[in-house]
């Protein structure tokens, strides 16, 4: 006997659970299907648990440098297994939070694997039995993504691990080769290096954090180098095989040996076995093709989050979830501005950006003014003892339009939102300039970078 709902959401990651809640808020009767714990990769295996691990790394670093503050702590011992356990605890708590939100919003959770048999029907195969769910109004697909590997290299989660393995392994290797220096690779390199693992970070593109502004890449390269992390950029991995201390990574720039290899080359949409063909949902370059309201090629079938394409970020998935829900409820949601999605990497120091890099702005033919302000000249940063990094503002020379902002430094991922709001409101440098920033704060660096772009920086 099929069960009927207005909306059936497949997947409960940040895209899925947000869209389900928004649908429920709009008076729709919602079912969600999940083959893992609610919360998806983000809460269980990605964003949240890694932030817990990175916090451990940060605390460890702080304690190791306690003498800088005149605090004697004696011998510092850090148990990596306990760091992972704490991280799992954080993930569990957040996943329970999602379950609570489902109950609160009267959303029915069906544990199991969902398969579409047509554009309105989902067959759920679960441990507790099978169900057929009918979606009266719409289906929302939000099955996310999974780590990708390189051709010829299989992720066995022993010798070659993915972020999924890395986040739950309670033992850390003595040495590791991290393939891919995007956000995931850089964050794990930071965690492992902080705990004493010998890290080699490989990147095929010419620099680490290749999507960020070059200044941020340069800074992270320098600071990681100082922490003993080996970085090789512009190298292509040709093979990964067992040998040496564990694995041997062959590249066009030499051989690298380590106990383990972390594959962090990117993620692929998780769509196999979902029944997209049966529902008439088309793909485009491996991701589901969507309209500005997230509708797929099949009417009434929506796709959001990682499976619907770049950028593969939880906050973009959540925003898409809201748009899809509101469109399904007959509202006219404001389309997502994909040019205004913040990008954040939580290594030490953090890197955050919005808009385009200086190079990209120039490539786009814009005449730019650029302002850069180092945290060494920011009182709060000096007081914190966190002076690495800068705020860099790239603006249109004629109008002061904020084209891009790039921050490396303490709490960069928080400071960036000033510019996210500014860009949404179409503020120009003048409005940022005329906004009084509290003193002393790290955000003053945002003001000073703005002033610097206008040739009026005070504190440098």
């Amino acid at each position: 006997m099929a069960k009927s709902f207005d909306v059936v959401v497949v997947g409960t990651g940040p895209g899925g659970y947000v869209s389900a809640i928004r649908c429920a808020q709009l008076g729709l009767n919602v079912a969600v299907v999940e083959d893992d714990r609610p919360g998806g990769v983000c809460l269980n295996w990605g964003c949240i648990p890694t932030k817990a691990l990175l916090r451990n790394a940060e605390v460890l670093n702080l304690v190791q440098h306690a003498s800088d503050f005149g605090i004697a702590v004696g011998e510092v011992r850090a148990d990596y297994a306990q760091a992972v356990q704490r991280s799992r605890g954080v993930a569990d708590r957040m996943a329970k939070g999602v379950e609570f939100l489902f109950r609160k919003n009267k959303i029915t959770l069906f544990p199991g694997t969902g398969t579409l048999t047509n554009a309105r029907t989902v067959e759920v195969k679960g441990s507790a039995g099978n169900e057929t769910l009918q979606a009266g109004r719409a289906l929302i697909l939000a099955t996310g993504s999974r780590p990708r590997s390189l051709p010829g290299v299989s992720i066995d989660e022993k010798l070659v691990i993915s972020s999924n393995g890395a986040v739950r392994n309670e033992t850390r290797p003595a040495s590791i080769v991290v393939i891919g220096a995007g956000a995931v690779g850089v964050e794990f390199a930071d965690v492992y290096a902080s705990y004493g693992t010998q890290v080699t970070l490989l990147e095929a593109l010419p620099r680490v954090l290749p999507i960020e502004d070059e200044d941020a890449s340069t800074l992270i390269t320098r600071l990681f180098g100082r922490r003993g992390i080996t970085i090789k950029t512009g190298v292509k991995v040709s093979a990964v095989k067992p040998g040496g201390p564990g694995a041997i990574v062959e590249t066009d720039g030499g051989r690298f040996e380590a106990q383990q290899v972390l594959m962090a080359v990117g993620r692929a949409a998780r769509t196999d076995g979902l029944g997209l063909e049966a529902a008439g949902v088309q793909l485009e370059r491996g991701f589901v093709k969507i309209s500005p309201t997230m509708e797929t090629s099949a009417k009434g079938v929506y796709a959001i989050g990682d499976m619907a394409g770049a950028p593969l970020l939880a906050h973009k998935a959540m925003a898409e979830g809201v748009v899809a829900a509101e469109a399904i409820a007959g509202q006219h949601p404001r389309p997502i501005d994909y040019g205004n999605v913040p990008s954040c990497t939580y290594c030490r120091p953090q890197v955050a950006s919005i808009g385009v890099s200086e190079a990209k702005a120039k490539e786009n033919g814009r005449e730019v003014m650029v302002g850069k302000f180092p945290f060494t000249a920011n009182g709060k940063a000096v007081a914190l003892g966190e002076t690495d990094g800068f705020v860099k503002v790239v603006a249109d020379k004629a109008t002061g339009e904020i084209l891009g902002v790039h921050i490396a430094g303490p709490e960069a991922t928080e400071i960036i939102h000033e510019f996210a709001v500014g860009r949404t409101l179409e503020a120009t440098l003048e409005e940022i300039m005329h906004t009084i920033h509290a003193h002393p704060t790290l955000s003053e660096a945002a003001l000073e970078a703005t002033l610097a772009a206008l040739g009026q920086a005070i504190h440098i």
């Binding site: 404001r334 003014m369 004629a398 179409e426 003048e430």
Partner: protein, 453 residues
Amino acid sequence: MAVSKVLMPKLSEAMESGKIIKWLKKEGDRIQAGDILAEVETDKADVEMEAFGAGVLRKILSPAGSTVPVGSLIGVIAEPDEDIAAVASQAGGAPATPAAAAAPAAAAAPEMASRPAAVPPQPRREDPAARTPSPSTGPTAPARVAAAPPAAPATALRPAAAASPAPGDGGRLKASPLARKIAAQSGVDLHVVHGSGPGGRIVRRDVEAASAAPAARPVAVPVAPGVEFEDRPLSQIRAAIAKRMPLSKAPVPHFYVSSEVAMDRGWSLREELNALEGQPKISFNDLVLRACALALLQHPGVNASFQGESIRVFYRAHIGIAVALEDGLITPVLRDVHAKSLGQIATEARDLAERARQRKLRAPEMSGATFSISNLGMFDVTEFSAIINPPEGAILAVGSVRTIPVVTADGLGVGRRMMLTLSCDHRVMDGAMGARFLQDVKRLLEEPLRLLV
């Protein structure tokens, strides 16, 4: 805290009085600066009136439904314990302050409310130069506009960018800072831009769309020769001057060319067209509109505007259609007439005229014409000369279609004739140019099948 007078604001350049549709605050309500006090109907639109002073709305002097001149005292804001008798007694339709009395000269002045104590009466002259905003405070000082952007700082921005355009004439103009700057640089008048952002806010894409449509861009006003010019956005004051100066007709050296058009074939064509079922009724004016649009494309020199050091020639025909209202005249603009069929022209022109009479035109529909037509045929006017509506370069005055004796090859016959008189800006064109244009309009109307192809 001083007593604040609430005065009937001047919400558009041409506004002389306003009707209070309704008060959104009642006596006794506490008012913050920026609160919407009332809705006011002006000659062109319904506008929300913002409070400038803070306090309690102590007295409403003009009830909903009343029409009062600009500058009249319509309410009083003060603290509960303040004596307002002296202020309230000034009510009675007469403009309450010298500043308000001079309102026509101060179109840019946001006279939403003024506190006489803070507003020394300034001597005013009718000399336009006297209307230039001065840095000193006074009733016209932009600093009194609540929505005014901060004064332009000394920045690396180009001067044009730094000069953020002032918001609407008293009415708050909602536009993003970036939209304002791009508008300033591309010469787009934000008042004619439709806002697509939240709550009708004008955002970047709206300005870009407006500046991409060349004729939607208001052109600079005609200016006296001998000065250096460039296409620059108009300040509110300049816009007001630009509107008023030509009223004297002096700055635009008009000349006139007239021609009589045989409308016999046009008459039969129109009858045939109007006999078709399911087709919109075509008027003579629609035929003239179509003929002018086609001729304007052939004679861009007539579809042109004087720009000081250059003449701006338009390649699209946006034609203003003078519509008589009970108490005045309004000229809604039919865009891209050259690209429209007679049926389309008929439908859209009628819609514009009807909405003009109901005062339901949207701002973009009231500006951006490259040429205008004024038709007094329905009043049985044989011929007349119209005054050019700057910055347009010409206007066509259309008389009635008369049945008169005409000389034909066979002798004396009866014909239908219509007089056309083209008023031309001599700075833009010469007599021959205007005459050739008129000749083409005449030919199109006399061989009206050309209007259908």
